[in-house]
Assembly symmetry: C2
Homo-oligomer: 211 residues x 2
């Protein structure tokens, strides 16, 4: 409880700092392997000309994801949590310090792959974006409600695999809306590019609201 | 730290109770949607004649998984952790109490979908079995090493989707062995049944070692 209170206090500081600098910060959350990094790679390649974007990468171990981001030409800082199951506000503060994102830019935070713990930790972001892969099963919003309640936007990824899996799009969206009536939903494939225009539109709209 | 010590103490009690009753308890762990419940459904349908198996189901919310298990004719108890990210030894003790598994049987524990936190919590099981879906990416053992270090067996699931994803079996197994040289590996598809004989063989061998 004390840990959560301390975290939320630091999160408030982060939120204020980001607002002062007109920076949109998005907290990208999902199960391991739902496609966060792949989506970021595509977004950076296709949008970084139009919108300056930098990335805070969270993982238990390894620099794999930060390296993938850097390969697109964009800046990334890798935070390793060790046994930790989520990024916290203190980690984001250090990450922003190292990253030094310019005013009016976008900071994408890729959280540790985990559909549970990151829901409880405010980092000071503008919004949480939850990525759910169609390979994971359509019942996830009911079984992990806290994450879907905490998210402003749900991205249903790997649409290209829909024919090969038992995933009912309507049922999944219905479950998500039961848990969070306001949640926005976009379906896409980070691999084929299907549906990415909708995501870029949402991103641009959110970024301009921030300035 | 105190919480972990208290948990390990209760885990020891569970382990002793299970040993006294010659019960094999396996802690099935994975990311959300890797296929734990589907694998259990198949295993129960195909093996429950030969080996008495009952199930402890862990999820943040809902009774979906316990219902799926019961539909096979096998007994299951559902534990909901609320915001909690893992089953703990106290929960297993309560679950075993309610389940009352007979001596010489097998108890399958399906943990909360989470590749991070359950690695740190001993429940008193004989072994952890980690399920990794080929849709998640082959770098997971390096990025979430604690879980793969804690597991005796790694099951690579959804083999039927291999042609549609970027997953290098050899590279993934290599990563897993770097993190845990002793880890055993089986590749299978809970959907098509491919590779399930190897899993049943491992299960039977583990169960007879227990008696
Ligand atoms: N078929 C298909 N595969 C995808 C898609 N998006 C990502 N993948 C694959 O899914 C696997 C995992 O993708 P990542 O982008 O690494 O997933 P992640 O969410 O960043 O994973 P963590 O950071 O470990 O939690 C990789 O093998 C990707 O190639 C998609 O739209 N379609
Ligand atoms: N193609 C394919 N799909 C599978 C396979 N195994 C499971 N699935 C699908 O994957 C989705 C998730 O399966 P579950 O068995 O519910 O996964 P789980 O690990 O129990 O999920 P949680 O309990 O929520 O963590 C479902 O849509 C299953 O039909 C497989 O071998 N091949
Ligand atoms: Mg990633
Ligand atoms: Mg399940």
């Amino acid at each position: 409880q004390a840990l959560l209170a301390k975290n939320d206090h630091l999160a408030m500081h982060n939120r204020a700092w980001l607002a002062d600098h007109n920076i949109l910060a998005l907290n990208l959350v999902s199960s391991p392997g739902a496609g966060k990094t792949t989506l970021l790679e595509r977004t950076l390649c296709e949008l970084a000309g139009a919108i300056p974007i930098s990335v805070v990468e969270g993982d238990q171990e390894s620099v794999f994801d930060a390296e993938r981001i850097r390969a697109t030409g964009c800046r990334a800082v890798q935070i390793n949590t060790g046994t930790g199951c989520h990024l916290d506000a203190a980690m984001l503060a250090r990450g922003l310090d190292e990253l030094a994102p310019p005013p009016g830019s976008v900071v994408m935070i890729e959280n540790v792959g985990n559909l549970v713990c990151p829901a409880l930790f405010d980092l000071g972001e503008s919004a949480k974006v939850v990525v759910l892969s169609v390979t994971e099963g359509d019942d996830k919003p009911m079984k992990y409600p806290h994450m879907f309640r905490a998210a402003r936007l749900m991205l249903l990824n790997k649409l290209d695999l829909l024919a090969h899996v038992d995933f009912d799009l309507e049922r999944c969206i219905g479950y998500a809306r039961r848990v969070n009536p306001q949640i926005e939903v976009l379906a896409l494939s980070a691999r084929t590019g299907e549906g990415l225009d909708g995501w870029y539109q949402w991103l641009r709209a959110s970024a301009s609201t921030q300035r």
